[in-house]
């Protein structure tokens, strides 16, 4: 068996396993064995993409609005599951979204400067918020003060929703860290930096959703 013959039947080799003749060719041919190893690697790594991305919080907002409009969601006899928005907020609760938005604006400014002047990119580690430049896994890192304030505000309004928002914040913070690491690995990669900004915007959207749910 030569390389041409082997590569003709390669899709079947993946599906049905290899014959003795094919195995012998692989053993003697680094090109075909390298090809097979690469394709196998791609197939295995593709599973990582299964839950890579997170939709914007606005998706749920739109779904909820539509379900309420259609009457699919309705209040239970025991009272509303999602409590109505509180009439007043304490100072800490208002500071939280402001801090988040300031963080977004700050990050955008830093990265826009980075695009204009690639030489300034190595300074990002020093100037970016510590919470984002810290590459520790999300599960081992406690939420920062702003997050804690937001969660306290959510809990006071609707205790059942606190865990949900804690999870959302944990996810979005992990997303920011992943995006930051990629952007720092290749500061000239504009797409990676765009992903960082998207991640910050998602975090701001979580705050916005928590504090101003636009329910009908």
């Amino acid at each position: 068996m030569n390389c041409t013959e082997f590569q003709e039947i390669l899709p079947e080799v993946f599906e049905a396993g290899r014959t003795a003749e094919q195995a012998a060719h692989l053993k003697s041919c680094p090109r075909c064995s390298g090809l097979l190893a690469d394709l196998d690697l791609i197939a295995r790594e593709a599973r990582q993409l299964q839950e890579l991305a997170e939709p914007s919080p606005r998706v749920w907002n739109s779904i909820e609005i539509e379900l309420r409009r259609e009457g699919v969601i309705h209040e239970l006899p025991g009272g509303p599951v999602v409590a109505p928005r509180a009439r007043s907020w304490n100072l800490g609760a208002w500071l939280a979204p402001v801090a988040a938005l300031a963080l977004v604006a700050f990050a955008i400014g830093v990265y826009q400067r980075g695009w204009l002047s690639p030489q300034s990119a190595p300074q990002l580690t020093a100037t970016a918020p510590a919470q984002i430049s810290n590459p520790q896994p999300a599960k081992s890192q406690p939420a920062n003060n702003e997050d804690q304030q937001l969660l306290a505000a959510v809990a006071s309004r609707s205790p059942a929703m606190r865990a949900q928002y804690a999870s959302n914040l944990q996810n979005v913070n992990a997303y920011i860290r992943d995006a930051e690491e990629s952007a720092q690995a290749d500061p000239n990669d504009e797409e990676a930096q765009q992903i960082v900004m998207d991640a910050y915007e998602q975090r701001a959207a979580v705050y916005e959703m928590a504090l101003d749910r636009s329910l009908p």
Binding site: F14, G34, E51, A53, E75, L76, D186
Partner: protein, 201 residues
Amino acid sequence: MTDAKKLQGDKLSEADAIERAKQGDAEAFQLLYSLHKRRVYSLCLRMTANTAEAEDLTQEAFLQLFRKIATFRGESAFSTWLHRMAVNVVLMQLRKKSLPVVPLDETLESEEEAPKKELGAPDPVLAGSIDRLRLQRAVDALPPGYRRIFVLHDVEGYEHNEIAAMVGCSIGNSKSQLHKARMKLRESLKTSRAEKATKPW
């Protein structure tokens, strides 16, 4: 640990959430959404390579699911039911976009789109590692026909016979498209690795 199992460790299991959602409980709907949103959105994003479109399709898939949740009897796993619904929503959307419908078996590839044969000079291999973001970008850059089969098989884990039924092609065509998709991804990943190696950073 999956999100569903984590939830079971908390106060409300997925089964409870489904039952409460059937009664119209908003919190239950949100919990079900939270458990499955990443998988559904990722599927939509991989299939369309467009975030705005993926969000619209995610919204549509969940809306369809929640409208029909009263009919869910639990014969199959909820995630399987939801996922199949999401795939159908995406495939329907893709069919609408690509009208007039051309059977996949008849799709011709241009020279540009077809993966190169791996013959001739020795070729560098990927050496056992792939950067996740680069893989994501390479998948996004696949021609739509290849991307559809690759996502359904390698990312989502559907078998060729299931894909053939969902997409409307032969099993052989599904296998062939998958192989070409993987070959094309290998080319893209090697190219992006070579470009990265030439950069000063």
